[in-house]
């Protein structure tokens, strides 16, 4: 019988469909019975959507315009 801790450990693999069927079904039955874990699952799904929508970026100080100009010059020279 799966418990709340199993949901916490496997929630991301559950969402990504990366679990074997028996485990997936076991977690599903726990979710049917446990409203806390249903809320937790929903919070993780929302977190993933937030990441996808907000698209946070790497810290980067590169002058991309200067880099593009450098590559452009290189291309004209080479091709």
């Amino acid at each position: 019988m799966y418990q709340c801790k199993d949901i916490a450990d496997e929630v991301n693999s559950y969402i990504d469909g990366a679990l074997p069927l028996t485990k997936r079904v076991g977690l599903f039955f726990h979710l049917l019975l446990c409203s806390c874990c249903r809320n937790y699952l929903q919070q993780i799904r929302t977190t993933i959507s937030v990441i996808t929508v907000s698209h946070p970026k790497e810290r980067d100080n590169t002058d991309t315009k200067a880099l593009a100009q450098h590559l452009h010059a290189l291309c004209k020279h080479d091709h």
């Binding site: 990441i51 996808t52 907000s54 790497e58 593009a68 452009h72 091709h79």
Partner: protein
């Protein structure tokens, strides 16, 4: 349900042709679109110190090889692979090793009793939709800062899978990690970001 991007569109073919023809704006477009993701991959493989140099070299290699680009993958995937290969060569030269456990703090075990039941109740968030969450500027800044504090491998996994929609198998190849390690990285990165949103929501109550 996860959506993956199609490998190549007509727009992309046009963009590649403009690059080959030496269109300055096309260069600005690809650099501004793909530099950050290439940097993310390089940092994950070779670390902060060498990543900038590796990505600059990757750009030069890519531009030189552009006329031979056959379009079997998307331009993004092709560029990411060039950055990844450059970073892997650099790792071999520098003999550097990035640990999967760098910066990871496990979910506190004291949240569960000895049979694995939660002690505390979990309630639905007040701001349920991503749009509602992101409408809050303070929360948006917390998410951004929390993302930037993740270890480089976790950031790269999250960027490639959740933001760029690249398939797991391809990501394992790019980052040179196993599928189970990728799942661990995604789990840790998402859990950390979930904590930062959760803490904010709890403090607001």
């Amino acid at each position: 349900m996860k959506f993956f991007f199609k490998p190549k569109t007509r727009d992309e073919q046009h963009l590649i042709q403009r690059l080959i023809d030496g269109d300055q704006h096309a260069f600005e477009q690809v650099v501004s679109e793909y530099h950050n993701i290439m940097l993310s991959v390089a940092r994950a493989i070779v670390g902060e110190a060498f990543a900038d140099e590796v990505v600059q070299e990757a750009w030069v290699s890519a531009i030189k090889a552009l006329p031979k680009f056959e379009g079997r993958s998307s331009l993004k995937t092709w560029l990411v692979h060039i950055a990844s290969n450059g970073a892997k060569s650099r790792v071999r030269r520098e003999n550097r090793h990035v640990s999967l456990d760098e910066g990871w703090e496990s979910v506190s075990a004291d949240k569960f009793d000895n049979i694995g039941h939660r002690f505390d109740d979990i309630y639905a968030w007040d701001n349920e939709t991503p749009e509602a969450i992101l409408a809050n500027e303070q929360l948006q800044s917390i998410i951004e800062s929390s993302f930037q504090q993740l270890p480089a491998l976790q950031r790269a996994a999250l960027t490639l899978y959740d933001m760029e929609g690249i398939k797991m198998e391809e990501i394992c190849n790019i980052l040179d990690i196993s599928a189970s390690n990728l799942r661990v990285l995604l789990h840790r990165a998402r859990t950390t970001l979930h904590h930062s949103i959760e803490q904010y929501q709890d403090n607001e109550k």
